[in-house]
């Protein structure tokens, strides 16, 4: 069992309150996932030609300042960064690949959680309340956010095994369910050059989407292929640079509920997580149909 929540703001005036609106949604799913929690928030975009990475160190005492100094010297370009608990958000005027390469050499223990122009992924072990407090979720701003509370059934409870999983630039995935063919699929994806860090089944789904998107699929095509190739139970929420998507497997035994008003679209595993949203009593509320893609995106970034 796990909990999924997502909030996409249609009304930009609510953007300063995104974290404040979302925190009770994440915490309402504590019963479904007390092991670990995480979220991917979109906002504070960097300009074209820049890349934003969320990095995680193993401790809050990690010397980010020293690393950033070395990184600036190595890359020879301007960068901006700030620390958030054990994580750091790095903005660099460079391509993603050389930044990743330099980070891997300079600080092999530091993990890259996300990369893109907008996304920041923050996650860790502990109750949803601890995670949201650790990273200061309530004061965060942005256009949309998806989150996850985990009750592990498949693999170890670790920071790396918690959700969301990055699936490419500004893309991420959260999952409720379990995949039964992830072992074989992981072998196949490894041969295609996809790299895995855990034994987690969701990481395989994320790797699968990364691979399909690298093959030139649109997000819709990649998810249509996922319905064919992933065997098991899933409700997925997918964060994109401009919005978010929801899809359930053809059996649809993992729950999902959607709510839409003039101000927002919200998604959750259970209605309880939506009950704190303003205007929810007049929202259009429905369950997403099986094997059907729902997607909300802004017209332009």
């Amino acid at each position: 069992m796990c909990g999924i929540v997502g909030l996409y703001l249609k009304n930009p005036r609510l953007e300063p309150q995104l974290g404040q609106l979302f925190e009770p949604m994440l915490q309402a799913m504590t019963d479904r996932g007390p092991d670990s929690a995480g979220f991917a928030i979109y906002g504070d975009e960097v300009a074209d030609g820049w890349v934003k990475l969320t990095l995680q160190a193993t401790t809050e005492a990690f010397d980010w300042k020293a690393l950033m100094g070395e990184l600036e010297g190595r890359l020879g370009c301007s960068l901006d960064w700030f620390q958030n608990a054990s994580a750091a958000v790095l903005k660099v005027h460079a391509d993603e690949a050389p930044v990743r390469l330099a980070l891997a050499e300079l600080a092999p223990s530091v993990r890259v959680m996300s990369a893109g122009q907008s996304i920041e992924i923050l996650k860790g072990m502990g109750l949803p309340q601890e995670i949201s407090q650790r990273f200061g979720l309530a004061s965060m701003q942005g256009s949309h956010i998806i989150g996850h509370t985990r009750m592990a059934t498949e693999s170890a409870v670790t920071m790396e095994g918690s959700h969301p999983f990055s699936t490419g630039a500004d893309l991420c995935l959260v999952h409720n369910g379990s995949l039964s063919n992830h072992f074989r699929l992981r072998q196949e994806l490894k041969r295609e050059g996809i790299h895995f860090e855990t034994d987690n089944d969701t990481e395989v789904a994320a790797g699968y989407l990364t691979w399909r998107l690298q093959q030139g699929d649109s997000l819709k095509d990649a998810l249509d292929h996922a319905l064919e190739d992933l065997d098991g139970f899933f409700t997925f929420a997918i964060g994109t640079r401009n919005g978010f998507a929801v899809i359930r497997d053809p059996i649809a035994c993992k729950p999902a509920i959607l709510a839409e008003t003039d101000d927002y679209v919200a998604m959750a595993s259970e209605y309880q997580a939506l009950s704190s949203l303003p205007g929810i009593e007049n929202a259009r509320i429905w369950e997403p149909a099986p094997a059907t893609l729902y997607i909300w995106e802004r017209q332009s970034a």
């Binding site: 649809a252 035994c253 729950p255 509920i257 259970e270 209605y271 309880q272 939506l274 009950s275 509320i285 429905w286 369950e287 149909a289 099986p290």
Partner: protein, 224 residues
């Protein structure tokens, strides 16, 4: 009238009060906010109004009570109900009325997947449409759908009577359309009237078991 406010009382407070003897005949539950297990295991002829959305297993195992939810319900509403009645003014998630032996479940909106799965005698009347795999292994009782039915309706059906006014996306294994005889028109009209829906029984179609899966056929042995 007794009111329990779930913004201050717990779900356990509510259920324990409903299980206690010598209680009020009319109950009102406020600030339900999608909480799970509301009014489960009630075994008294009381009337309960839940003023909002309810979570999983609302009115589960009900006996005798008449329960109305003024909102939507989550998974497994009125599961294993034995008697009494449950009315949902909004829509229901999956597995509404699962395994229930008796009583009447009315859902004014839509019901999700697996509505009436393994139902054993309950009557379910849905004002809107129902999702896929509904009435799977339905054994007894009646399922009435005023809208449409999703994929694989009545798969591996036993003796539940199914009536659908709209379209059926597909019938499950061993479920077939059947002739609507006068006794069926009569029982359907009675159910529609009890549920308070202004539909005519003659506009519905009846579905039931072809009874081909009741016994193991030795010819199929090689398939296993």
């Amino acid at each position: 009238m007794k009111t329990i406010d779930l913004s201050t009382a717990t779900v356990r407070d509510l259920n324990q009060a409903l299980h206690a003897q010598a209680i009020d005949n009319e109950w009102r539950v406020t600030h339900s906010n999608g909480k799970h297990n509301l009014a489960v295991g009630v075994n008294q002829a009381v009337s309960i109004d839940i003023e909002g959305h309810a979570g999983y297993y609302c009115a589960g195992m009900n006996q005798q009570a008449s329960i109305t939810v003024h909102g939507n319900v989550g998974v497994g509403c009125a599961e294993n109900m034995m008697s009494g009645s449950v009315r949902v003014k909004g829509s229901a998630s999956q597995a509404a009325g699962a395994t229930a032996h008796g009583g009447l479940l009315v859902i004014e909106g839509d019901a999700g997947a697996r509505c009436g799965i393994s139902m054993k005698g309950i009557d379910i009347v849905v004002g809107g449409s129902i999702g896929h795999m509904s009435c799977f292994m339905g054994q007894a009782g009646r399922l009435v759908v005023c809208g449409d039915a999703g994929d694989a309706l009545g798969d591996s059906l036993y003796e539940t009577h199914i009536y659908v006014k709209g379209t059926v996306e597909s019938l499950g294994s061993d479920c077939v359309e059947k002739e609507m005889r006068s006794e069926h028109l009569q029982e359907l009209q009675e159910l529609l009237d009890r549920a308070g829906f202004a539909h005519r029984a003659a506009d519905f179609k009846r579905y039931g078991s072809a009874r081909q899966l009741y016994n193991f056929k030795v010819d199929n042995a090689s398939a296993y």
